[in-house]
């Protein structure tokens, strides 16, 4: 499964919403109305699934799937 598909799947599971039409650049709060706790749950699920870490002081900055994807890719690059 591609990273993109997996992020969609995780978003769907933690938000309990249909996310089929969420685009990479969409702000998740504006698009889905997800609350701050769901946003943290999503980041935690991504950290666990891809064995990466989001910096604590920047947790509020990951507002779209693209933001998250970019960070995961960068972290994976560093781990190689």
């Amino acid at each position: 499964m591609t990273l993109e598909r997996e992020l969609h799947r995780l978003l769907s599971r933690v938000s309990i919403k249909n996310v089929d039409d969420v685009r990479p650049e969409d702000d998740l709060v504006e698009k889905l109305g997800i609350d701050s706790l769901t946003a943290l749950q999503l980041l935690a699920a991504v950290e666990k699934r891809f064995n990466v870490t989001f910096p604590d002081e920047r947790l509020d900055e990951f507002r779209s799937l693209r933001d998250i994807c970019t960070h995961v890719r960068n972290e994976q690059e560093k781990q190689r």
Binding site: V14, L37, L40
Partner: protein, 455 residues
């Protein structure tokens, strides 16, 4: 005939030092913003009680322009809490000066009816059920009475029940909607100024009605987050489980208030998570059992206090966060209480914390006692009933020590570093959740667009 219903909302702090501090504390400000954007469920219920042939308009006080002409309503209804009651009275006076009759209602009006009556053509005490339809009939017949008594029981049964008019919120930018599933709370804490003051006993809405209301709200708002406007939602675990099973398929996310006894029921905790509960607010009041003696008539909170940390763990281990509420200034509190709360917060893993000062709201047993003991700082201080301003002399510290201690505690627990630490702690809890905690959403009825590449 056109009725205008005007909601007074917002969070206020009068003490200048605290107000200045508040704007620098992100978590404090965030919750204030949330509260300020909640629609008035009371007025939406009043709208639901209004006969269909009467036009109803819902307004937030922020919608009203001070300099614009007043809207030409035939009748205006205003509801307000104590902290904003003087602004409500001023608005009522303004409408009445323009010849528009005003009805005042709500908790403060119920607790101080004679005062409110000076600013209104009519008042409604208790809830609007059993009063508002009669009031409208009387108004249309030209015989409006000075006071109407709403029902204190059976408000969720026909013929008194009315579904709130959530449709009045359509097109407005609300992202949080309140739904009430119960009224009252048998704990009967001395300081409580919530819905127990307008009921004769705890009343619970039939599950079917509560679910129907949620569906109605979902139909008119985009991605709403639900706040159940209850004082103690899960007092009856059997009702609670039926309710949670009924809302689980709706795919909503929600918040409510309940007491710590919810942690004793594993099945209920599982259902909380499965039904989309994001947070429950629990009035812990104070970290130590001995501080809680006499707070409620049966000393239930004192008996629960030793299990607070374990209860928080059990609830949060499901990914449901606890917003732990503390009240400072209890008669048992000394200046040590502020450090004790900070220490408890650090040990507990609470994601969110709410600290308020003991507030003698008019009409409460606390008000009567402090008045009797000569400990109220002023006779009338309603604009300072904000939960953050001190209005009485504490037993074991000075007013200044209480105010300074609150400011210290706010700085210690609401700053960015501490909040970030608590967020990380919550994320680590989430990582331990079994994958079954997350449910698969309902299938979409929309066609799936072609997959896009994220980068």
């Amino acid at each position: 005939m056109k009725v205008g219903l005007i909601a007074m909302s917002g969070v206020r702090v009068r003490t200048p030092e605290l107000a200045a501090l508040g704007v620098t504390l992100p978590q404090f400000v965030n919750r204030g913003r949330v509260i300020a954007t909640l629609p008035s469920l009371g007025l939406l219920t009043v709208a639901g009680l209004t006969p269909e042939d009467v036009d109803v308009e819902y307004r937030e006080v922020a919608d009203l322009d001070d300099y614009a002409a007043l809207e030409p309503f035939d009748l205006v209804g205003i509801s307000s809490y104590s902290a904003q009651i003087d602004e409500a009275y001023a608005l009522a006076d303004r409408y009445r000066a323009h010849g528009i009759p005003v009805v005042l209602g709500g908790l403060h009006v119920t607790l101080c009816p004679d005062e409110a009556a000076q600013h209104a053509d009519s008042i409604v005490v208790n809830g609007a059920e059993g009063a508002w339809p009669r009031l409208i009939d009387d108004f249309e017949a030209g015989r409006l009475q000075r006071r109407y008594q709403g029902r204190r029981s059976d408000v969720f049964r026909p013929p008194h029940y009315a579904k709130p008019r959530f449709d009045l919120l359509a097109g407005r930018p609300y992202n949080r909607i309140t739904v009430q599933t119960s009224r009252g709370c048998p704990l009967n804490c001395e300081f409580c100024a919530a819905s127990l003051r307008i009921t004769s006993a705890f009343q619970q809405k039939p599950v079917e009605l509560a679910v129907d209301e949620i569906r109605s709200a979902l139909a008119v708002t985009k991605h709403p987050f639900f706040e159940f406007a209850d004082d103690n939602t899960f007092l009856n675990p059997r009702w609670g489980k039926r309710f949670l099973r009924a809302i689980a398929p709706l795919g909503i996310q929600w918040f409510t208030e309940t007491d710590v006894s919810v942690a004793r029921d594993e099945a209920l905790l599982d259902l909380l998570a499965e039904s989309g509960c994001r947070q429950i607010l629990i009035g812990l009041e104070s970290p130590g059992a001995r501080d809680l003696v006499g707070l409620d008539p049966h000393d239930r909170k004192r008996k629960w206090a030793d299990g607070y940390l374990d209860a928080i763990d059990r609830i949060q281990s499901r990914g449901v966060t606890v917003n732990g509420c503390f009240v400072v200034g209890l008669d048992s509190h000394t200046p040590d209480i502020f450090a004790q709360i900070k220490d408890f917060v650090n040990r507990s893993g609470l994601l969110e914390v709410q600290v308020t000062v003991l507030t003698p709201f008019p009409g409460t047993p606390l008000y009567a006692r402090l008045h009797r003991e000569g400990r109220l700082l002023e006779d009338r201080y309603w604009d300072r009933c904000t939960l953050f301003d001190v209005n009485f002399r504490p037993m074991h510290m000075s007013v200044e020590e209480l105010e300074a201690g609150m400011r210290w505690l706010f700085r210690e627990i609401y700053n960015e570093t501490e909040y970030t630490r608590r967020k990380r702690n919550y994320m680590e809890i989430c990582k331990k959740l079994p994958s079954t905690t997350y449910r698969t959403p309902m299938p979409s009825t929309r066609p799936r667009p072609a997959e896009e590449k994220l980068l």
